[in-house]
């Protein structure tokens, strides 16, 4: 139901930097499911699908992208808050931009605080510097479970859903039979729960989602969402976001494309 992330589903919020000497230092924040295509659209102008505010003001560089959002809803909310920190209820502690503060630096400052603030604090995000020469240390630093990456994002596997299902079946024919049980609680694994498997090759871990979550949350009482932990079987370190990304269903990409279009508030004359 609704656009939620799947193994290949990409939801990202990016930052554009203007290289045009006439509009030096301008910055734009947007949402995309396909960063390479999106930046081409921006540079091509409004008529080719680029945003109204960036049209004709190019060339634009996509310098960083925050991805790993588990749903479009989460990414869009982040995008809005990053664009309107003064209006976001979660960012009242972030001071407004000083006159001496460059827009880019200000956006980084807001980003740093956002990554440390609920509700984004526990999301399985990755901060990726597409242009390493723009890279700056964030202060406050991002939470430890969020990796900082460099270079272009890994190519998305464009595999239709039936194929992935059959691939998964062929890889582990024996393990998905009805007799499998959770390694943590020893009860049977029902279908609707989609057992969690350890991504490390050869690790036999099968577990209920809730069982493994409770295991990871032992160090983090009072929380509902785990961040990271160790595989009870092979002891390797695991991020909850990567674990959970494996077992969900697929939805339309066309809905996501609509979400990238200009929002009417962006088209208002300020």
């Amino acid at each position: 139901m609704g656009p939620t992330a799947r193994p290949g589903r990409f939801f990202g919020v990016y930052l554009l930097y203007c290289q045009n000497p006439r509009h030096r230092g301008r910055v734009y924040v947007g949402f995309t499911v396909n960063p390479a295509r999106r930046v081409r659209q921006h540079n091509a102008g409004r008529k080719k699908g680029g945003a109204w505010r960036t049209s004709g003001r190019g060339p634009w560089d996509m310098v960083l992208i925050l991805h790993g959002f588990p749903s479009a809803v989460a990414a869009l909310r982040f995008e809005w808050a990053w664009q309107h920190p003064h209006a976001s209820r979660r960012l009242t502690h972030v001071g407004p931009r000083l006159r001496s503060e460059a827009s880019f630096a200000f956006h980084l400052r807001v980003l740093a605080h956002m990554l440390r603030a609920p509700p984004w604090l526990r999301l399985p995000l990755t901060l990726r510097w597409l242009r390493p020469d723009f890279r700056q240390e964030l202060s406050p630093a991002p939470p430890p479970h969020m990796p900082i990456a460099f270079g272009p994002p890994p190519p998305q596997p464009s595999v239709p859903k039936r194929l992935t299902a059959s691939e998964a079946d062929s890889e582990r024919p024996l393990d998905l039979d009805a007799k499998a049980s959770c390694m943590l609680c020893a009860r049977l694994l029902q279908d609707e729960e989609g057992p969690l498997c350890c991504p490390h090759p050869g690790c036999p871990l099968r577990a209920h989602i809730i069982c493994l979550a409770e295991e990871f949350l032992r160090e983090d009482p009072g929380q509902l969402l785990p961040l990271e932990g160790h595989c009870p079987s092979c002891k390797n370190s695991l991020l909850w976001g990567s674990l959970v990304g494996q077992c969900r269903m697929d939805t339309e990409e066309e809905e996501d494309l609509e979400l990238e279009e200009d929002h009417w508030t962006d088209l208002l004359e300020t």
Binding site: M1, G2, T4, A5, P70, S71, V73, A74, R77, R90, P118, P119, W120, L121, R122, L123, P124, E193, I209, I210, A213, P221, G222, Q223, L224, L225, P226, W240, G241, V244, C247, R248
Partner: protein, 264 residues
């Protein structure tokens, strides 16, 4: 403040002749020396305060408050700025009785639900209670993820150490306690529903209106704004898309009926 009203009755108690006389004559009762509050033991101080319907305070504050009350009650009637005592205005409040509640901290100065009796007006107080509760709610985000005991203590600190507003402090801490309680109740509810918890664990957005209705059915009424805060503190994504869609459809259906009425 309500307790000047109480003081009028106290004045009656201390100066019984004053009640019988007409306005102009000051009482001829010698003013007793002030009891040595500074060296009194805490339980004794508590009892003293209890006579005036004031709750137990930290010792230092009890001493100061008793001294203040003494000065107030031991002025001569001419210098006393209070208007004349009227017997009809004897306070219905019984300072000794306190509503039994299940909460640890009780507002012993004002029994819960007691309507204000005097013209000094307790009306400002409920308003301040709301504003204090609202201001404390904002700080609740960071507490809801801890156990309710920790949250209570921390919220108590954050509610402030204002000497003049002990009542507000009590109410603020009560509000914080209730708020932490609700957050904990929501958390427990999610843990108790495996399908819902799985949704949360797989980062699927929860439909807000639906969740609110479920919680209400389960005996946990939560205001929408409060629920938002609780979910945000747990970093749970939510959506109002379905509810908004439905509202839109309702609005589209309604105008037909309304137009007919207007054309009268």
């Amino acid at each position: 403040m309500w307790w000047p009203l109480l003081l009028r009755t106290v004045l009656l108690m201390f100066y019984p002749e004053g009640a019988n006389k007409k306005k102009n004559l000051p009482p001829k009762v010698p003013i007793t020396p002030m009891p040595r509050y500074s060296i009194m033991e805490t339980p004794v101080l508590k009892k003293e305060l209890d006579r005036f319907g004031v709750r137990a305070l930290p010792k230092r504050q009890m001493v100061l408050k008793l001294k203040e009350i003494f000065q107030y009650t031991h002025q001569t009637l001419e210098s006393d700025s209070e208007p004349e005592i009227q017997s009809s205005q004897v306070l219905p409040e019984e300072p000794c009785s306190q509503d039994p509640t299940t909460e640890t901290y009780k507002p012993s100065r004002l029994p819960a639900g007691e309507p204000p009796s005097g013209p000094d007006g307790d009306a400002p107080l409920p308003a301040s209670q709301e504003s204090v509760a609202a201001s404390v709610d904002g700080s609740d985000d960071s507490f809801s993820s801890q156990s309710s005991c920790c949250a209570f203590g921390a919220a108590l600190e954050s509610a402030g150490e204002d000497k003049d507003d002990e009542e507000e402090e009590v109410r603020a801490s009560q509000a914080a306690f209730r708020a932490a309680d609700t957050a904990e109740a929501v958390r427990r509810y999610i843990c108790s529903k495996p399908a819902l918890y799985r949704k949360v664990l797989t980062y699927q957005p929860l439909e807000l209106a639906e969740l609110q209705a479920e919680l209400k059915q389960d005996g946990i009424p939560v205001a929408m704004g409060k629920l938002l805060d609780i979910l945000d503190a747990q970093c749970i994504t939510f959506t109002t898309a379905a509810a908004r869609k439905e509202k839109l459809q309702q609005k589209r259906r309604q105008p037909l009926g309304r137009k007919k009425k207007d054309q009268k």
